[in-house]
Amino acid sequence: MTTDEQLVERALAGDQAAFGEVVRRWERKIYALTYGILGAYEDARDATQETFIAAYRNLQGFRGEAKVSSWLHRIAVNQCITRQRRARVRSETSIEDEVEFAGESFLATNERASPARATEAKERTEAVRKAVASLPPELREVVVMKEFEDLTFQEIADALQIPLSTVKSRLYTALRQLRMRLERFHLEVAPG
């Protein structure tokens, strides 16, 4: 199987199809990351698209030292940060509102299954969504990369260019904050 790095080399030589393969391999994970950070479908889709376009534009800047996945994740996180800054500058709806909007659309699909379970799921997912959205950006990035993408600590450290110990401490802190927030939402997170 062709590695990501080989595909990037072919793309650098002008093979556009090779980069298309990179996109197909990573689009789901990058989308999960952007959605986890931004909390809105539309924003996540745009950020994912911009991530791959930016990656293609900067193919020359890709160094073989890092993995392609780390490189893409770093670009995606930067795209999310840029979008959040722009949103703040434009004084648009807050991330939490977007999350709420996104949650409503998501929950609307679940409601079709079973009203009782849908109500329960609605409360739960809404609480989780709000809790994640309320995390500071540096904690949110780490927890989303770990929970949504199952990246190793080292991969997260490479993508965010921070020490491994920082990744672990941030994740620990993020989990503790999520626990507290979910408890505030009366979610059953305390051990029974």
């Binding site: 002008g14 556009q16 980069f19 298309g20 996109v23 689009e27 789901r28 989308y31 999960a32 959605y35 986890g36 479908y41 889709r45 994912t48 698209q49 791959f52 376009i53 293609y56 534009r57 193919l59 996104a102 998501f106 679940n110 799921a121 739960r124 997912t125 609480a127 989780v128 969504r129 994640v132 500071p136 540096e138 904690l139 927890v143 770990k146 929970e147 949504f148 190793t152 600590f153 110990s165 920082t166 672990k168 401490s169 941030r170 994740l171 620990y172 802190t173 993020a174 989990l175 503790r176 904050q177 999520l178 626990r179 507290m180 979910l182 979610l187 059953e188 997170v189 305390a190 051990p191």
Partner: protein, 270 residues
């Protein structure tokens, strides 16, 4: 652990429970610990209620997040970046395949408004004409001093400077200078003439005075001469008096009466 409290302010009283083994805790929680680390942490768990409590709670949190993730990412939109990447690919190839100057010029003209095209054409025309004029008057010379390259533009500038510099230095034009020279010459001629006339008048006055004096003397002399010896009335003396009367430029001795004549006239008895 330091960053944990710095970034989030976790230990702000909301949760006073804490354990110094957070790094190992997280590593164990996500299954990235080595067997030895896992065994060591499990031993710690047996003695640490805080970590046991958190391990259970974090499991619930992770389950809730996983549930959210599964629902949110059940449908992932497709990313057909073909169209989005095509112009990017073209722009990336651009530096490698450098366009010719002619192609760039054609693109410029096709994209520019009409007024800009006209302006560019006029500017190009002016530049071409100036260049042609310059090179038409260019002079390349090779002699003992080496290679000399002189353009017509420089030469013309020097000529122009010469023409301009002359009146700037004197303050007069060539015509004014000529007029001044002529005027000076006329003035000198007039002065010379006036001087000559003055001298001439003076000389004429002296001559006239001398002539009058001689006439008066001649009248007296003639009377005396008639009363003197005939030797004195020689034809030469009468001729000299005649000449003196006629010729104003004859020597003064000729006109002035001689002392002997006067003495003769005095001694002569009446």
């Amino acid at each position: 652990m330091n960053e944990k409290s710095n970034v989030t302010g976790l230990n702000n009283g909301a949760n006073p429970r804490d354990c110094e083994r957070a790094q190992e805790f997280v590593t164990y929680l996500y299954g990235e610990a080595t067997p030895g680390e896992s065994k060591a942490f499990e031993q710690h768990l047996a003695n640490c209620a805080i970590c046991r409590d958190e391990l259970a709670a974090f499991g619930v949190v992770r389950g809730a997040v996983g549930e959210w993730k599964a629902g949110a990412l059940s449908t992932v939109p497709s990313f057909d970046l073909g169209e989005a990447l095509t112009p990017v690919a073209a722009s990336r190839r651009a530096p490698e395949q450098r366009r010719s100057a002619w192609a760039a010029l054609r693109e410029f003209f096709s994209l520019s408004p009409l007024w800009m095209q006209a302006g560019a054409l006029a500017a190009a025309l002016v530049v071409c004409v100036l260049a042609a004029l310059t090179f038409a008057r260019t002079e390349v010379r090779w002699d003992s001093n080496g290679l000399a390259f002189r353009t017509g533009v420089k030469e013309r500038v020097v000529e122009k400077e010469r023409v301009i510099q002359t009146p700037v230095q004197t303050g007069y034009t060539q015509e004014q200078l000529n007029a001044l020279l002529k005027e000076n010459a006329e003035r000198e001629v007039a002065a010379a003439r006036a001087k000559w006339e003055a001298d001439n008048n003076g000389r004429v006055g002296i001559l006239e005075a001398a002539l009058r004096q001689q006439r008066s003397a001649t009248r007296g002399g003639a009377t005396v001469a008639r009363q003197q010896s005939p030797r004195r009335s020689a034809p030469g003396s009468s001729r000299g008096a005649q000449l003196a009367e006629v010729d104003p430029f004859s020597p003064r001795e000729e006109r002035v009466p001689r002392l002997t004549d006067l003495l003769g006239a005095v001694n002569t008895p009446q």
